[in-house]
Symmetry: C3
Subunit: 343 residues, 3 copies
């Protein structure tokens, strides 16, 4: 698994100016601190500048503003956006590191004769592709995946192991769907009838745009009547729950364990912190940032950052404050009464 690349090849791939010997080879990407002479590193934020001079890294990705400081130290690749450069460098690395999928259909896979498998697609062992489903060119379907009837997987989209995509659901191009994801289970809908629940069958689908990444064991329910929609560029972390009829705007990111209840509409370019909950039927504007573990109980129509978390404390202090909190409204009334008495 040893990967070794020359600075020349890296600079060419990233499209930056190389200062230093193009033949020097690196075998590791790492932060400035702790870098070895075979590490390629990056300076993406001014706050790490103090670590530059003393770093043993073979080469550092830097911005034009850092060109001279970096050159004084040793080899460097100058890029307009070194953090983007770092991201692209990891992509170059991954091309060598990640085991490549084998194009073609594994002998054990069960493919309905009416399904369509695009050129260069890879269908792994024990995958099941149902009637009328379409797998795009160069797509990768991992072991034990289930693609339901008439579902569509876009070109170059990759599904890891044990992913299920329900009938009629679709994923765009270049998506990455991690292990155990369930797309298109029934939304949670019931009519109360004399103390029991009558099922409202979920007749919509899930439609997912291009360049969407979905973390492991995340669930995205099909819509009740219309569809559940993730627009282009959405990124969901692991164990996220997206209820029926939710719409998530383009390039919105949600960290792990977020729950979005049914029929919520979330704008584009939002960021939802880990463990946050968005209640049903709410609207979040574009560019809303929700802090981790906060609960959105009303629509938020203005961009900005919103929070709502009980501050953690040592247990004894928390117990006192939490007990008092249950009398808070009363305390306000008492304060008001005092204010009236005090001239």
């Amino acid at each position: 698994m040893a990967i070794e690349l020359s600075l020349g090849d890296i600079a060419a791939h990233l499209g930056g100016e190389l200062i230093g010997d193009a033949n020097v080879r690196v075998n590791r990407i790492g932060p400035l601190e702790g870098a070895t002479p075979s590490t390629i590193s990056f300076l993406s934020h001014p706050k790490y500048q103090s670590q530059l001079a003393g770093s043993a890294a073979a080469c550092v990705l830097v911005s034009p503003a850092m060109r001279e400081a970096a050159a004084a130290r040793g080899a460097a690749i100058v890029l307009d956006d070194p953090y983007l450069g770092f991201a692209r460098l990891t992509q170059l690395w991954a091309q060598h590191l990640r085991p490549p999928a084998t194009p073609g259909v594994h002998a054990s896979a069960v493919i309905d004769p009416t399904a369509s498998i695009g050129a260069g697609a890879s269908i792994a062992a024990f995958a099941v592709v149902d009637a009328g489903a379409v797998v795009g060119e160069g797509a990768v379907i991992g072991p034990h995946c289930h693609i339901g009837a008439n579902a569509a997987i876009g070109a170059k989209t990759r599904l890891a192991s044990n992913v299920s995509v329900g009938f009629g659901c679709s994923i765009g191009q270049r998506g990455i769907i991690h292990g155990g994801v369930v797309i298109g289970a029934d939304g949670f809908g019931f009519a109360p009838v004399g103390g029991r629940w009558e099922k409202i069958e979920q007749l919509g689908n899930v439609r997912i745009g291009d360049d969407v990444e979905i973390g492991a064991n995340t669930c995205i329910d099909r819509g009740a009547l219309a569809d559940t929609v993730l627009e282009d560029g959405v990124k969901l972390d692991n164990l996220v729950q997206i209820g029926h009829n939710v719409r998530v705007g383009a390039h919105t990111a949600m960290a792990g364990c977020v729950g979005v209840a049914g029929s919520a509409t979330i704008g584009a370019h939002c960021q939802i912190g880990g463990g946050a909950v968005v209640l049903g039927h709410l609207t979040l504007a574009d560019r809303v940032i929700i802090s981790a573990a906060s609960v959105v109980m009303r629509s938020i129509l203005k961009p900005g950052q919103y929070s709502g978390v009980f501050p953690i404390d040592d247990n004894a202090a928390w117990e006192k404050n939490a007990a008092t909190l249950r009398q808070l409204h009363g305390l306000r009334e008492r304060l008001r009464a005092l204010e009236k008495k005090t001239p």
Copy 2:
């Protein structure tokens, strides 16, 4: 996938009085607002009554009280409970929409010779059914499911893909188990021994009643000594965690991401909002409603709605209030002191 049904057939199925032409055909279910001339709609709540007259829907499901108003507009089906009628209409739709399971055992499935497969059951590709397991009549076992030894799946119960049911666990009739559900993993039990954890093997099973629906990737642990029990009609959404020895009463519903810790006893007809947490060994009475994201830290013995969530605010306001909250008990003491001083 185009579904088209006549109003006559629909009225007959729902058992309501049809006002209008029985031969008119509809191809979509939808709300009054936005309905097209081929949409069948419903008026289930008086607050939407204002949308009735102007709706272009081909037909509207209404209650007897709305009979005349609906007839003045156009076709209608009159039902005692139009929302129940809507639910049954989605069920009729789903019969046409959902790809039917193929009865019989797929050639690739691995069925232990001592397992029993009921008449008309469907066992999909790559399913595994272990020794002594019983699959009821008309049950559907999806691809990549694993039914452990001596487990029992009731008649007409449907398991989607990648479901695992542990040895000795049982599910009643007409259940719906969505993708990735894990029933019967070990409960979380350890004895602390000199700084490490000694496993307490979990010897109970999971017993699930009739008409239970369980959402995608939800987990229900087996009991430690006795069983974990879900009674008839329980509905769990996605990514719910049910700890060992929990008992959930009949017709209780839990939304996504709820966690119920071990040995909690939850009554019948409860509703637990998304992301709520119920601590271990607590009791909830029948008909308790827990708001989303609330944490139940003590038993609740009276029906009613209970909440406990820090209100979300813009981040700057939250920071101020949260910081002050950590001094709340002290503020109360200061208020008391002031009260003593003020005549």
Copy 3:
């Protein structure tokens, strides 16, 4: 499934002193209360002592301090740590109760010729083991598991159904990995570039120590550059999320639905309650206890118990207090003003 063991065999297995007839047989483990004459029970905490005399149990595990009280009642096994004895008794029971794995590779499994399968290992139906992977001696790989390229599963480690272990990841010896666990999905890393997210490929692995148990549908992401690490003896419950580059110290336990964000470092012997969230890049010292559903927003460098949960209340009371909470900082200012006015 009827298990029956003699008190003599049990005492020999547990290494304790038997008081009473070694030939008496028991078929059930249970608490003192409700014990039948064929139940073996235990007294692990003085608070249950009052139940001892009246219990109908065939035999009770007790500490030396309880020797006489127990002997006065009937049969007993005297052990230094009766709760550990109870744990070991469950293990003895499980040896008889749990269906044994069949050693050898199931005919349907797909094993790369370069993978290595240890002696006595069991590879179930439809398992997939990729190139260069190593499965240790006596390990158990359940149905529909996927072991990625060059991954390593330690000796005697057991994987239930539908587990996926990503390429290059490793699990130590005697581990228990429950159904649906995803080890080694990509960490959640993106560089923001002009309003969209550029993927930072995740180049690290997951390294898991010995004697680790991981609950159903839990996710452990691979590191970005370095590895994500779970040290020996860690116990994770179901639906836990461990972000990239997290390090969890030895013998730390996390209950269900915990989320740990990227690059957090959690000490040894910690206990994290169910539904708690630990934000990224934080440090928790050894022996820190986090109460259920609390949110850790700053590093905690001292052992102890920490909490932060809004107390639940009836909904009307909560609404009043929560509304007032949003004015809390202002209330403090008003209190200050009053204090200045009051002599």
